[in-house]
């Protein structure tokens, strides 16, 4: 069994209408990788929220900028990288949305949902070229394709 991943790579305009394009790609990739329906939805949401961060907070809704996505399917996991062309955001400044004072706040749940739904979540700042997040979801062996 080769360790080379199956790769899908796409570059999208920084536009909210592309959220559904990204979600469709996620459904295809995650379905092929062998994820169950619930995991597939969790990955879809994590990518959706990451895309919003990239478009809204990273690229500041500038349609001339791009969001780059790369899906790498390994035997035991799916790794997704999402990169914007913005100036970065400090993830440590995102407060816990479930704590008492924040519970009724309107925003601030995106990163929390990504962390909840994925097995790994990493953020890398690329000086001068944006922010790249990596999302990893392990494949339940019971759901792996034969």
């Amino acid at each position: 069994m080769t360790s080379e991943p199956s790769v899908v790579e796409v570059t999208l305009e920084s536009d909210l209408k592309n959220l559904e394009v990204a979600e469709e790609i996620v459904r295809r990739v995650a379905g092929t990788a062998g994820f169950g329906e619930e995991s597939e939805h969790q990955i879809e949401m994590a990518v959706h929220e990451s895309m919003i961060n990239a478009i809204w907070h990273g690229n500041k809704n500038d349609a001339s900028k791009r969001v780059w996505l790369r899906f790498e399917t390994y035997k035991d996991r799916l790794e997704i990288r999402i990169r914007d062309q913005g100036i970065g955001f400090n993830i440590n400044e995102v407060p816990d949305p479930c704590s008492g004072d924040n519970l009724l706040k309107v925003s601030g749940r995106g990163i929390f949902l990504i962390r909840t739904f994925m097995d790994e979540f990493r953020v890398k700042y690329l000086p001068g070229s944006g922010t790249e997040v990596t999302l990893v979801k392990r494949i339940d062996p019971a759901h792996q394709p034969k």
Partner: protein
């Protein structure tokens, strides 16, 4: 598929049947406008029927919170009806399940509102 909402009055309660996506952008803006409009008209008892909501994101959850707060601040009540499993799970994860009054029977939900 974008969000669609139809409003019907049952007793003194405005029941809003929502379908589609409540997500950042159009869906959230529509819901915000709808709630603002109902409050302007003095309708402070609102039941959001989410049975046909296919997708809700963190912004959509935030919009539900915003609607709840806006109605409560005017002395009204906003309740949720018929959550799908996905929405139910999201409200549990975000600990908002205890904030909202959630029902799965419309008649019981209607009768749970305080009478004007």
């Amino acid at each position: 598929m974008s969000m669609k909402a139809t409003i019907r009055q049952v007793d003194s309660v405005m029941v809003v049947d929502i379908s589609g996506r409540i997500t950042l952008g159009e869906g959230c803006a529509q819901l915000r406008e709808l709630i603002r409009d109902q409050l302007t008209k003095g309708n402070k008892r609102v039941l959001l029927n989410l049975a046909d909501v296919t997708y809700i994101d963190s912004s959509g959850i935030g919009e539900l919170v915003s609607a709840y707060t806006a109605v409560s601040n005017q002395g009204g009540q906003l309740k949720l009806l018929n959550l799908t499993k996905k929405v139910h799970d999201l409200l549990q994860i975000t600990k908002l399940y205890t904030v909202f009054d959630i029902h799965d029977d419309e008649a019981k939900a209607i009768s749970s509102f305080q009478k004007p």
